[in-house]
């Protein structure tokens, strides 16, 4: 009985906060747009009993999903989101791995401080930090002034409102999610393994590729998913740092909801995004499970 209650708690949580909202969104995506409050039909009217329910069901259809295929905008937005998410994941890995490696190899007494510095940005609002990047990246911004002062460039660079700014924003925002799992994997690694590899004839570089990288694989995979999954649906960064040509599905979704007030199409966009994300989420879960099995 007690076990049942223990298991029931997380399941009820998932049911109430994940499954029920999902079903609501799914229902809206199958509805039609209407000028009413809420802005879609049909509405379930329980006062009419069984007949009302049948009328409600017959009012649902997949035409919003069909609509998504008719307009180039949507699939282009999905593809461009995938591209931006993939590229920025790779860049986050390239920045995050050396940082995680450096922290894991730092003297013991420094490590908590260094980890603290990684987490420190979370203490301020994400939105404020993105606005700060606008201040850094715009044509009269800190970065351009600094580069002009150094004489590296003769006229200001246009970074803000381009995809470059979006990449910078995503890499900056999600870097801790990359660093922490990789650090956790590297920190567990016994340093005598590297000495053993060297003793058996490896150079420092090949010891890194043959021992360090395979042993931090689980951390790398976890970090990549933790960056890729939220980056794919990212909305704030592309809308604040990106320009008009930056196409991301998060932005499209926002516009459907708030500019067009077309809730059904917006919901359909969200459902497709979720379906795209399910694949990496399942892969991520599998990675976590394999790792647990390897450690068990």
């Amino acid at each position: 009985m007690r076990r049942l209650i223990l298991i029931a708690v997380p399941y009820l949580w998932l049911l109430a906060l994940f499954l029920v909202p999902f079903l609501i969104v799914l229902k809206i995506s199958l509805s039609d747009i209407a000028l009413s409050i809420p802005p879609y039909t049909p509405q379930l009217d329980l006062s009419e009993g069984w007949a009302g329910f049948r009328a409600f069901l017959s009012g649902l259809d997949f035409e919003n999903f069909a609509f998504l295929t008719t307009d180039d905008l949507y699939w282009k937005a999905y593809l461009s989101s995938l591209q931006i998410a993939l590229l920025s994941t790779v860049m986050t890995l390239l920045c995050g791995f050396p940082i995680a490696y450096g922290i894991a190899r730092a003297p013991h007494e420094w490590r908590p401080t260094l980890l603290m510095l990684v987490i420190l940005p979370f203490w301020t609002s994400f939105l404020i930090r993105v606005y700060a990047w606008m201040g850094i990246l715009n044509t009269e911004g800190l970065l351009n002034q600094f580069l002009l002062f150094l004489g590296v460039i003769s006229e200001p660079l246009t970074i803000l409102n381009t995809n470059t700014a979006v990449y910078i924003g995503i890499v900056y925002t999600y870097l801790p999610f990359m660093i922490l799992p990789i650090y956790a994997a590297l920190e567990k690694m016994d340093e005598s393994l590297l000495e053993a590899a060297e003793d058996l004839g490896c150079s420092r570089v090949s010891a890194f590729w043959l021992v360090t990288v395979p042993l931090s694989k689980s951390g790398i995979v976890a970090g990549c998913f933790l960056v890729f999954i939220p980056a794919l649906g990212e909305f704030v960064i592309p809308s604040l740092l990106g320009g008009s040509q930056t196409l991301m599905i998060g932005k499209v979704l926002w516009e459907e909801f708030f500019s067009n007030r077309d809730w059904p199409v917006a919901s359909a966009v969200a459902i497709v995004l979720l379906l795209i994300l399910i694949v990496p989420i399942i892969l991520f879960q599998r990675n976590q499970q394999l790792q647990r099995e390897a450690e068990g």
Partner: protein, 374 residues
């Protein structure tokens, strides 16, 4: 048929495989190895023995190339290996933690070093199979390190470090993680493998029993210096200092003033007790303070004073430690000193001759103990 005794260290023409020449290693202000010189010969099973922090592991890491030498030089087969990085040395090491690669199978762990060279696939496969047979691991080749027992892991580590057929194999506390029974079996296995492969082994250990069992020679270290380097029997029977006598096995140490006449020495050590009669080839100044060291098993314990004994003292049994095969008796002398004497339990315990509070005689011959100046 006479078997030639393996003792290259007594042969002035023998060329040592490893030479430490005035080697000093300092970590900041701390001197880990202090101006140390030592020769180790080919096919030797050499043990570095000492308490933790005595510098034995530092010596091993210098041989492997993980630590540089502050001054002096280390020669391997006549060549200074100072500038050679660890991956280019014909030296392999078996790590205390074994350091097996957890992501690779046993087979791949053993093949790891071979793949770094330019051996062909078949050569590698043959060598790995040989190593698996040598260490009786063939059945486990496809498993990962976490799927085998501690003893098997130890053998994998050994196989991996032997796979490249190094000139010198370093073993850092190789049996430390095993339980006592397994450790004893593995000691003989190690000796067997060392003999079969003819590799020179240098083993670091703090376990004197292990060093005595496996090694052809033992170096007893303390605070970065070699105290005594010799065969196990010499270390045990003729230690050169109180430190060595005390570090290896059980010992009674009696302090006294020496008087010498030729080779025989008499040591006055307590009032009202006859002086101890012993032998020493060293020349001692009359009245010099010396330590007399004698092993507990060299003392015989009797109820009556033996008529012929060179040395005999009487006392009361204070304590008996029953170890099964032997018993150690702690005998308190009238002077208050306590001597330990061991005797084999050839009779059943119920018929033991002595018990607590019994008055007994301890006796020993002139040559049973050693006279130590320091």
């Amino acid at each position: 048929m006479t078997q030639t005794v393996f003792a290259p260290w007594n042969d002035p023409d023998a060329k040592p495989l490893i030479e430490f020449k005035g080697v000093t290693k300092a970590f900041g202000d701390f001197v880990a190895i202090d101006d140390l010189s030592l020769d180790i010969f080919e096919q030797e099973f050499f043990a570095l023995l000492g308490p933790s922090g005595c510098g034995k592991t530092t010596m091993m890491r210098m041989l492997a190339g993980f630590e540089s030498v502050t001054s002096g030089s280390i020669l391997l087969a006549g060549k200074d290996i100072g500038p050679v990085p660890p991956n280019k040395r014909a030296v392999n090491m078996m790590f205390q933690s074994y350091a097996l690669f957890p992501h690779l199978t046993i087979w791949d762990n053993i093949a790891f070093g071979l793949r770094r060279g330019n051996a062909s696939k078949d050569e590698i496969a043959n060598r790995v199979e040989d190593m698996l047979r040598l260490t009786r691991l063939t059945k486990f080749a496809r498993r990962k390190p976490h799927q085998i027992s501690g003893g098997q892991r130890q053998r994998v580590a050994l196989a991996r470090s032997l796979a490249k057929a190094p000139k010198l194999l370093l073993l850092d506390e190789p049996l430390g993680a095993l339980d006592k029974k397994l450790r004893q079996d593995t000691q003989f296995e190690l000796m067997d493998i060392q003999e079969k492969t003819g590799t020179t082994f240098v083993i670091v250990t703090h376990d004197q029993e292990e060093a005595m069992t496996v090694a052809s020679r033992v170096a007893v270290m303390d605070e970065g210096k070699l105290i005594q380097v010799s065969t196990p029997d010499v270390i045990y029977e003729a230690p050169n200092s109180v430190y060595v006598a005390d570090f290896i096995g059980d010992v009674n140490i009696i302090e006294g003033a020496a008087a010498q006449e030729g080779e025989s020495v008499s040591i006055s050590w307590a009032e009202g007790q006859p002086p101890i009669r012993a032998r020493s080839t060293r020349s001692l100044t009359p009245g010099q303070k010396v330590h007399f060291a004698i092993r507990p098993e060299k003392l015989s314990i009797t109820a009556e004073r033996p008529a012929e004994a060179a040395n005999a003292v009487t006392g009361k049994v204070l304590d008996i430690a029953y170890l099964g095969n032997i018993s150690t008796y702690h005998v308190e002398l009238p002077s208050g000193d306590v001597l330990k004497a061991q005797s084999a339990n050839t009779r059943r315990i119920a018929r033991r001759s002595f018990t607590w509070e019994d008055t007994v005689w301890l006796s020993w011959t002139e040559t049973a103990g050693v006279v130590l100046e320091q």
